[in-house]
């Protein structure tokens, strides 16, 4: 059996009727802003007589501030919906009586398209009974399959199942403390008590937490709120506890903690199809934990992956967030051969360079000093003339005292620098 609750006027909020209906059964479906359908199967034990259930619905609706609730109970969804919309008060329909009770109701309750409504008006149809009395074959010839379908609806015949509206998922866990706590060590144990059940709830619903909000109600009445996100959603309590504690180390609450609330932003669990022939990838949870422990370096811009900039300016790079991603093997691409590279001096070390015949013969800088035994250069480069221009003349020099260095003359300032050691 199905029930329908219709409110005239519109309820204060779209969720009012859903919340009211859920007091009776979890299987409810919203049909527009003013009507909600209920699946009443299985409620016979609580309400042996449908009339009692109907009256209970009416009373509950009035208790929620609905002035003119209309309730209908019938053995089909459409019959219950149309009767609740078309008849005042409570209507209870026995099986097989739907067409009879629907007959006098206006055709507009079907919610027809304007063209169909106009057509039926020109045919002289005014009520659901008028439509139900027409032959199905004739309707099919004139309207196609839509005709017989509308006729069945007018007779209260409907085989479609109720599609229940899912209640909003809520993943949070709170803990009220008997005694205020101070410091991170006792908080670590308490967080475990809160995060364990939250993680289980998420996992049981096939969810992960994309972000976690920690609210600490302090003794002084304020709320210390921190929100964390990870590189990949996870429901592991241990990972979240580590991340929260690391975050609280650098953002500690200013007073003792009276209550703890943790709210998770749920997301569907990540589905990853691994290949047997691909190398093992880093665990996102462990990566998040490690990066959280290195936040002192990453937040200062001193930790991450270097990325070269598309420019000729020497040594141009940026530090990006370390996020290696899935490895894609590039078959056939050879690994570069080992080669001497530069150990860069940051900033380049100012140098005094003696020059003979345009070539450096002696270099003196912090940590680098000696006569030049051999050299290669000059190699000139310049760029960014439209922005911050640079122009340099580079030399690779070998010193008698040992060591290979790259030095350059800034041609704009006519100054020498040691860029780095070739090692």
């Amino acid at each position: 059996m199905f029930g329908a609750l219709h409110s005239v006027p519109l309820p204060p909020s779209p969720d009012t009727l859903l919340a009211l209906a859920r007091e009776f059964t979890p299987r409810v479906e919203a049909c527009g802003p003013a009507t909600v359908l209920l699946d009443l199967h299985g409620l016979a034990r609580a309400w042996p007589r449908p009339e009692a259930l109907g009256r209970a619905l009416v009373e509950a609706a009035r208790g929620r501030g609905l002035t003119e609730p209309r309730v209908a109970l019938a053995f089909s969804r459409v019959a219950a919906r149309l009767l609740a919309a078309g008849r005042e008060g409570l209507t209870v329909v026995s099986a097989g009586q739907e067409a009879q009770l629907l007959a006098p109701l206006p055709l507009a309750l079907l919610g027809l398209e304007p063209e169909k409504a106009d057509l039926f008006r020109r045919w002289g149809l005014r009520t659901l009974g008028d439509l139900a009395a027409l032959p199905a074959g004739g309707l099919a010839e004139r309207l196609g399959p839509e005709g017989p379908r509308l006729r069945r609806l007018a007779r209260g015949e409907d085989d479609t199942p109720l599609v229940p509206a899912l209640p909003p998922e809520c993943f949070d866990c709170a803990l009220e403390l008997d005694w205020p706590v101070e410091g991170l060590e006792p908080l670590a144990f308490l967080l475990a008590r809160v995060l364990e059940p939250l993680g289980l709830t998420l996992a049981s619903r096939g969810r992960r937490a994309a972000a976690l909000t920690l609210e600490l109600r302090l003794v002084d009445g304020s709320v210390h709120r921190r929100t964390l996100k990870t590189a990949a959603p996870t429901a592991l309590p241990r990972t979240w506890r580590t991340l929260l504690l690391l975050d609280l180390e650098s953002h500690p609450p200013r007073d003792a903690i009276q209550a703890i609330t943790v709210r998770a932003a749920p997301t569907p669990a990540r589905e990853v199809q691994f290949s047997l022939l691909d190398p093992a990838q880093p665990s996102p949870e462990r990566l998040s934990e490690t990066l959280a422990r290195l936040r002192e370096w990453t937040e200062a811009g001193r930790g991450g992956s270097p990325a070269l900039l598309d420019t000729h300016r020497p040594g141009a790079f940026v530090i990006e967030t370390f996020s290696p991603g899935t490895f894609k093997a590039t078959a056939g691409e050879p690994t570069g051969a080992a080669r001497l590279g530069l150990r860069v001096f940051r900033p380049p070390r100012p140098a005094r360079v003696s020059v003979e015949g345009g070539a450096p013969v002696f270099v003196a800088a912090s940590g680098v000093r000696g006569a030049v035994a051999d050299r290669a250069g000059p190699w000139r480069a310049s760029g960014d003339w439209w922005d911050v221009a640079w122009s340099r003349e580079e030399w690779d020099v070998a010193l008698f005292e040992g060591g290979l260095y790259r030095i350059f003359r800034d041609r704009l300032r006519d100054e020498w620098f040691v860029e780095g050691e070739l090692d």
Partner: protein, 236 residues
Amino acid sequence: MGSPATVKAALEDLLRHQRLQADGPPLRGEDRWPRPLATGVREIDGLLGGGLPRGQVSEVHGPVSSGRTALAVSVVAQTTRAGALAAWVDPADHFDPTSAAETGVDLARVLWLRGGAPATAGLGRAISVAGTVLGSGLFEVVVLDLVGQAGEARRLPGATWIRLQRLIELQPTALVLLADAHLAHGPSGASVALRAGAARWSGAPGPGRLLSGLELEARSGRQLARAARFALPVSS
């Protein structure tokens, strides 16, 4: 898709190729422990019996321009191109991404931790962050660049290296110390001493000349008895 027999033969070829290829990337679930980390320099790999041992602290040391950095970068290149992750702990901020990229390092798979800022200065912080990185178990090779800091490194407590060794002894991670002179290595770790030979120059002295390479000598083993000579080209 071809016939089942063709598909089966192709799959067996692929598995044979992947499993028997010595330098192929380690597969999911495969025990990487027995495989040493190749350095990418054939002579060094021959000296070390295949490469740097996993789960051990190894060192690469030598004077200025002896190829220490090149060898470490080459190890990182081999590691990252195979799909694993590498970390470079750089308290003095000397790492050059441009040279590394030319050697074949996949920079996106390198975590570079640079000193030189107030929040990250000091050798103690670098050792601490190296411990964090090693303990994560995410990285196949971690390079700790201590070149130019020999004095400060020698003042570190002796237990420092033992503690770092313990962090990785049950993991397939190699810690490589770069230093000016011998510093420390694990009980089964490698110690490679490098020495520069003659520089190679292209062409006659004058404009247009290039530094094309450097001859090097590497020694390893008990009392550095084993030696190998090789040459490395220079990055552009």
